[in-house]
Symmetry: C4
Subunit: 232 residues, 4 copies
């Protein structure tokens, strides 16, 4: 199997993980992955159903969005994915869903406050929200401008830090070292969003997790001396 | 297989899709489809369970509601379906459910505000609510009057535009070019209703999606230059 | 198979329907059915799991609660079931669950307002709540007193009318002509409770369904000239 | 099979019960069990997935946390489990999850009020919340300090009484005579938390269950003259 075939299989498996985790309905959502050496991105075709999805439904494009392999039209969100890959060499996979709880925060146009350790295990600060796009941005290159707004957040937070964000009025984008890691972030973000919403129902002005707890949880899982998991 | 048998099979499949998508319980809900050439409508029989449903449970009626094929009594909601088919030649399938989140908006007697792109992918304006029926309408031809109230909304919004509406105090009706398309709208509407309710919990006066975003999402999926999906 | 064996099988099937409908967890909940000729009641044994339940776990008692058939201790709620059977000859099956949404209303000590047609298809008035028990009632014959409080509601509403009620601070009891009908009411009540709670989130003072709609829906399904379903 | 192998199998089965009951996602959560004679604790390895979990993923440690059997690193929460085992000889199994509804109360930093009989069947008082840890405790021995805070609650409530508690900002810990009993408590607590949150939505200042009802339900299931279940 060529490297490109392997990448398409990885991206196919990651796309199929979305309905298995309850993160998508119908044809919504998409996952991509990049081959950094060849600068080629494999991504789900637009509007295809997960029920009978095969490697044929995974299209390969270059970083300008030209289709290199595959008969289908790539996801309409492809320019957003490409903007993320161009902005950071550390991103190997990107996931976009309309998962219910994260999308509710995006639609309410609120960042997700950090209210517990499940959140801190993912990221030690609130999950940010992209700025509003201008009408000109929406009219000219909507999906590209969405990518630009995400890249602005990544730049603000420092490279290699932020694992996901909410696109205002739309829904979550998540990324990681490969497509499977981006899916894991999407699963975690959805649960973090759900916990934060339920917490907000109990206390609309719930107190954020203290700073020492936030750092402890993030560092024990992701820091240089992490002791969570089996990777030494 | 005759055209009518084929229509009954399509309508059977669309009815069975409702419990598979979690949109109905027990015997609730019903899907119909029309053969425009013969002016015959196939619809679920009244009060039958989805567990052992077969083509025998799909009854064929003419546009006045007379049973043409089948031993069973058609759905009590048949006059509502027929009013929709008579009003618009573009409607090929109709779905009615009591799906939880859409029904909550119908019971709260509120239209669903357009708060995000998932909604705009379906329809670029709020999902409307039928007017209250008069006691006379309820007493004389309740199900027909429900259809009349839906047709009034379709007329207000312009033919071929509105894909679904909430019947006040009751639940959603959805339609489309065929029964499968109407089911897809029912799935989408339920998720749109859920997202809007969760958003409202986070912000009771959440800001609607800006007009440029609403148009962009609706047009990229349904407009003359749509680029979502594989249909060129 | 004897009539009693048949009753036990019916009661077993009805008990197993509870987890299938998502109405119970662990060992919670119980269904019974009565043989009116012999005045014998078959009921789930106390504290047994649904996973490996067999007819052995269905105990037969007389109307005073004496075990007639079976090695196991009957449900602790048996005196509540028996009070219902003694009070009304029309009751053939009884279901008790702690289903989440109905139990939330019971815990909030609120009757369920009639906010939509799904409710009216079951019952044309609010779902009532039992009165508080006195400390003496709780101390002396708690489960029997719970039955007394339910029977008081049935008497208030008129025999053969009320299909279910909420026990204050506890959860729902439902009944019907046989165990399967009581389970169907339990499924419906849970969804009615869920719809009412979601509606209340959208509008804390939601307007009840107008009287003409309530009567129309109840009568078209349960009245002398009912036209819902296949039973003419 | 040696006693230790049997304990590992019990702990494996209890861990696998967590996703089956919908209490965990991804690699979150952990169950342990103790062999009181040998003073050895079997516990899930850190960060392993439930999908392909085998007895190899269950590590055995002594009461100081030294690994005695197994190649993997034990759960990061091991010091919390050990603190519980050291504090009370009656604890035979411990479960930790981030189950959604219980975690919402932990994140809102509220104890769970006792609003119904489902709660009283588990415990006759509110489910308590651990105190906040100091920054020094978090920095020095975070997981051990979490155990200390839990043990303080157990001491306050009286040995052998409290079956579970919420760790502030984090999530629930549950325990019992063996791992399976601790899992049953985790399932019950999650539903109690869900019922209490839904009740709170209906009435933010819902009235607690009267004291006589609380005692009745707790005693009929757990008291010296319990008559719930088949254990005489």
């Amino acid at each position: 199997m060529s490297d490109l075939d392997e990448l398409r299989e990885q991206v196919l498996a990651a796309n199929l993980a979305l309905p298995a985790h309850g993160l998508v309905k119908l044809t919504w959502g998409n996952v991509s992955g990049i081959d950094r050496e060849r600068e080629l991105v494999a991504i789900k075709a637009s509007g295809v159903s997960y029920d009978a999805m095969s490697a044929e439904d995974i299209v390969v494009v270059d970083l300008d969005g030209n289709v290199v392999v595959g008969e289908r039209r790539p996801s309409t969100d492809t320019p957003t994915h490409l903007a993320l890959y161009r902005a950071s060499g550390e991103i190997g996979g990107v996931v976009h869903t309309h998962s219910s709880w994260a999308t509710a925060w995006a639609q309410a146009q609120r960042e997700i406050p950090i209210l517990g350790t499940t959140h801190a295990d993912l990221y030690a600060d609130p999950i940010p929200l992209t700025r509003a796009l201008t009408d000109a941005e929406i009219g000219e290159d909507y999906e590209g401008a969405t990518g630009v707004a995400l890249v602005e957040l990544i730049a603000e937070r420092g490279a290699g830090e932020l694992p996901c964000a909410l696109v205002r009025g739309h829904g979550p984008f998540c990324w990681g070292r490969d497509p499977a890691a981006a899916v894991e972030t999407a699963v975690t973000l959805e649960e973090v969003a759900r916990l934060a919403l339920l917490t907000t129902v109990l206390d609309p002005s719930a107190t954020p997790l203290p700073s020492a707890m936030r750092e402890k949880h993030f560092q024990r899982k992701h820091g240089p001396e992490a002791y969570y998991g089996q990777h030494s």
